[in-house]
């Protein structure tokens, strides 16, 4: 199966919940949380971590640069 595994780390306090990463994720990994951060935004999080391939599309489109992307080859 997939030989690449990825993961993202979202700086939840800086995330503004715009949802741009959600629609640009080719694997549908990211969702907006039901909880809010200190500013009242529904921050992004990895809803389906198994699907992430570490393509960094979310990090590249994030207007606030809150997403760090990690990738490991199995």
């Amino acid at each position: 199966m997939a030989s690449i595994k990825g993961a993202i780390v979202v700086d939840t306090e800086r995330c503004k919940g715009c949802g741009v990463c959600v629609v640009n994720c080719p694997q549908g990994v990211i969702s907006l949380a039901k909880e809010v951060n200190g500013k009242g935004y529904n921050y992004a999080y990895m809803a389906e971590p198994d699907k992430c391939i570490g393509c960094a599309s979310c990090g590249i489109v994030c207007p606030d640069g809150v997403i760090s992307v990690y990738k490991v080859k199995m």
Binding site: K5, K16, G19, P63, D64, S68, Y70, M74
Partner: protein, 266 residues
């Protein structure tokens, strides 16, 4: 595999540039300004010119750009960023000088400075973020506003002419095409930042614009970025990016317009 096994410094593939300060952007959620800031910082970091770069920030939403970049910055009067940058570059020819302007700054009040700086062929990089509206002041009509687009000052949509042909709001100003006809511009391009692929292309264009200046090639390097303004377009960030695709891009088509002083024929 546990997430803690993946999230390790050696597996990092993407992270915010270190040239951006820790201050959170004041921009609205989903605003293209943040993306453009990020890719400029990445380019400056990759080229290793952060120590000798001087930016000139505009008046508009990006007025506080100097808070976000860890490079030297000057704040110009409204629309006068190219004139200010000209002075800086002439005094310090070895510095890398760039202006960062919006459409209200570059295409409305600063049209004169923009055109004459481009016509003089100063060795500058100009980043122009075009969202077709005055963002900071509350969504009034800009020169780049599309025909039929509703803004605070054109509540029934921008109407270039009345029914009898007398002039009214005028047509969207293609400032990038205008300055591409001037002999002083070396590299003129139009990009967008609403999808990952376009962000990569925009980054390449910005990199080229800075590289030309680093190599002391004369002529203005001008990068227009078609961006969104979801707050004043009155839609969500995701819808604004879609709306940009459907409405802005037919009027402002993407791609290089001029390279190496020669217009690119399409």
């Amino acid at each position: 595999m546990n997430i803690n096994d993946i999230v390790k410094p050696e597996n990092l593939v993407y992270q915010k540039s270190k040239l951006l300060t820790s201050k959170p952007f004041h921009y609205c959620p989903g605003c293209g300004h943040g993306t453009v800031h990020r890719i400029i910082a990445e380019v400056l970091e990759e080229l290793g010119i952060d120590e000798r770069t001087i930016g000139v920030s505009p008046v508009g939403c990006a007025v506080m750009a100097y808070d976000y970049f860890d490079v030297d910055f000057a704040e110009a009067a409204h629309g006068r960023a190219p004139a200010c940058a000209t002075g800086i570059k002439r005094v310090w020819p070895d510095k890398i000088v760039f202006t960062y302007q919006g459409d209200g700054d570059l295409a409305a009040i600063g049209t004169c400075e923009t055109i004459h700086t481009c016509n003089r062929g100063e060795n500058l990089t100009m980043i122009f973020v075009n969202n077709g509206i005055y963002g900071m002041t509350g969504g009034q009509m800009a020169p780049t506003t599309l025909i039929g687009m509703k803004t605070a000052t054109t509540p029934y949509g921008r109407k270039p002419q009345w029914e009898d042909g007398t002039p009214n709001n005028g047509f969207p100003l293609q400032i990038t095409n205008i300055i591409s006809t001037l002999p002083g511009t070396r590299y003129v391009t139009r990009q967008a930042v609403n999808t990952p692929a376009r962000v990569r292309n925009a980054k390449k264009a910005i990199k080229k614009a800075f590289e030309n200046q680093m190599n002391n090639k004369n002529g203005v390097n001008f990068v227009e970025i078609v961006s969104n303004c979801n707050s004043n377009w009155k839609m969500s960030a995701v819808d604004a990016n879609k709306w940009l695709d459907e409405n802005m891009l037919p009027v402002y088509p993407l791609g290089d317009i001029k390279d190496n002083f020669e217009l690119i024929k399409k």
